[in-house]
Amino acid sequence: MLHVNNVEAVYSKIILALKGMSLHVPEGKIVALLGSNGAGKSTTLKSISGLLSGEGGQITAGTIEFQGKKLNNITPDVIVKNGIFLCMEGRHVFRDLTVEENLMAGAYSRKDRTNIKADMEKIFVYFPKLKALRSRKAGYLSGGEQQMLAIGRGIMAKPKLLLLDEPSLGIAPLLVKEIFQIIKRINEEEGTSMLVVEQNANVALSIADYGYIMENGRVVMQGKADYLLSNEEVREHYLGIGKEEKNYKENKVYRRRQRVVW
């Protein structure tokens, strides 16, 4: 469905952020894109959705293809119309708009205007918390509520492919699990394909079918989600389990001792 082939992207004409990035999202699947800070995950999503130029960046090589159509050098509004929607890193809800108006904004590019009200109710089924807040200004929502709204806005657009950039950012572990369960549900019920960027590799791989791991602007490892979950190297570097677990335990004991002293 989506093919990213050997893409190179630069910011300010000199900062090379992607150095031959490739990935593939099959129809109806959830794909996780993992990697450390500054690896180029957000840049990959911005390249796909045409938002790079808004930040002084551009694609200098490679191709991005969606359902057979080439997406390089197409403006974001056309890309959204083609069925790709990005939920940006850091939520970016419209703070002065109410929850309902934010959801309306998400539906901006849709052609079927008649089903909007019904779809909004569907969002409130996925995220019951938002229902009570529907006429509150989004700026006053908590971080978790804003994240739900940001995802809800994406569903309102009825995309074929939803790109999610760190939906767990700044959210309590319990809520992270819940949000990822809902992402999974949306994927199953709406048939929306997903490309999810995450720091929290564990939870992302738990719902994903396939995963890519990025370092320094390119993919360094890929495989089925359960393969990555069980891979020693991945467990060690990205899941914080394996060898380091022992250290962590020792640390904990150490800290406990310290606390007693304190």
Partner: protein, 294 residues
């Protein structure tokens, strides 16, 4: 008491027009962060067109007004396309400079084409004053007020419910996020300038009907500055409330104090109010300190 009410009514009507003109100003500020210093010229061009259509071409007011509005919409579009869009990624100061240049250009054109004498509109509204509880109101005032209130209601509905209205607010709020919704910032900017030019023209036609028309009327561009600063540069509600406040206070000051000091106070008072308000509320009455919650 009657004198007071008379001044009050005049103030409210003039203030409502200020509010309307300020609305265009605020929309542009919200969309691009720039002050449109050519707003005063937007205000006077419309009524000149309308007047010429009525006097030289004998077109009835309603049609003349319609043509004027279409002309103004096109003017707004052209200005956005030719002047603003080429520099939309330049610093805000450059945009403001461009509007100053635009202001001289349009102001000069008005002088050149229509001269500097004051012209009066042929009577459009009935002439017999209406007596409401002892206060004499000329129909022009009443109609102006009705038109402005009607327009303001239409705009609030537009911003609340229409797709373009929501997009305009979204772009003002978070441009990058608006882009990610698939909103076309280009269309939003064009719509903003169109609306600003149209409301300015409506305000101008109303003012022209009340006071007569001369190039000095573009000074309203300056009067509206205190209005928007008072209301808060980025608040639509603030523009309207600020308009009423400035209009009323200005007229009361003109009525009561000008005879004492020998005139001129009317033009200064708005700025004095703004100074006072800004000392107490630096963001204006309704201006947003952005909601920060991360």
């Amino acid at each position: 008491m009657t004198f007071f009410l008379q001044m009050l009514v005049t103030g409210v009507v003039v203030g409502s027009i200020y509010g309307l003109v300020a609305l265009g100003f605020v929309l542009i500020y919200r969309a691009s962060g720039a002050l449109n210093l050519a707003n005063g010229e937007f205000v006077i061009i419309g009524p000149y067109i309308c007047l010429i259509l009525m006097t030289a071409y004998k077109i009835p007011f309603i049609y003349a007004l319609l043509i004027t509005l279409i002309f103004s919409a096109v003017l707004g579009l052209v200005v956005e396309r030719l002047v603003i869009r080429p520099i939309q990624n330049a610093p805000v100061v450059s945009v403001i400079m461009a509007t100053i240049g635009l202001s001289s250009l349009l102001g000069g054109a008005v002088h050149m084409i229509w001269g500097h004498q004051t012209r009066t509109f042929p009577p459009v509204f009935p002439q017999t004053p209406i007596n409401i509880a002892g206060v004499i109101i000329s129909p022009v005032y009443l109609w102006s007020f009705i038109v402005v209130v009607l327009l303001l209601v239409i705009f609030s509905l537009f911003f609340k419910f229409s797709k373009m209205g929501i997009a305009m607010r979204a772009v003002a709020d978070d441009r990058q996020a608006a882009l990610s919704m698939g909103m076309s910032v280009k269309y939003v900017y064009a719509a903003t300038w169109t609306i600003a030019a149209v409301v300015a023209a409506v305000g101008g036609v109303l003012l022209g009907n009340i006071n007569g028309l001369s190039p000095t009327m573009s000074a309203i561009g300056l009067t509206v500055l205190p209005v928007v600063i008072l209301g808060g540069l980025d608040s639509v509600l603030g523009a309207i409330v600020g308009g009423f406040i400035i209009g009323v206070v200005q007229n009361l000051a003109g009525g009561y104090l000008d005879p004492l000091v020998g005139g001129g106070l009317k033009d200064v008072v708005p700025f004095i109010i703004v100074l006072l308000i800004l000392m107490l509320k630096p963001h204006g009455l309704f201006g947003s300190r952005r909601i920060e919650r991360v």
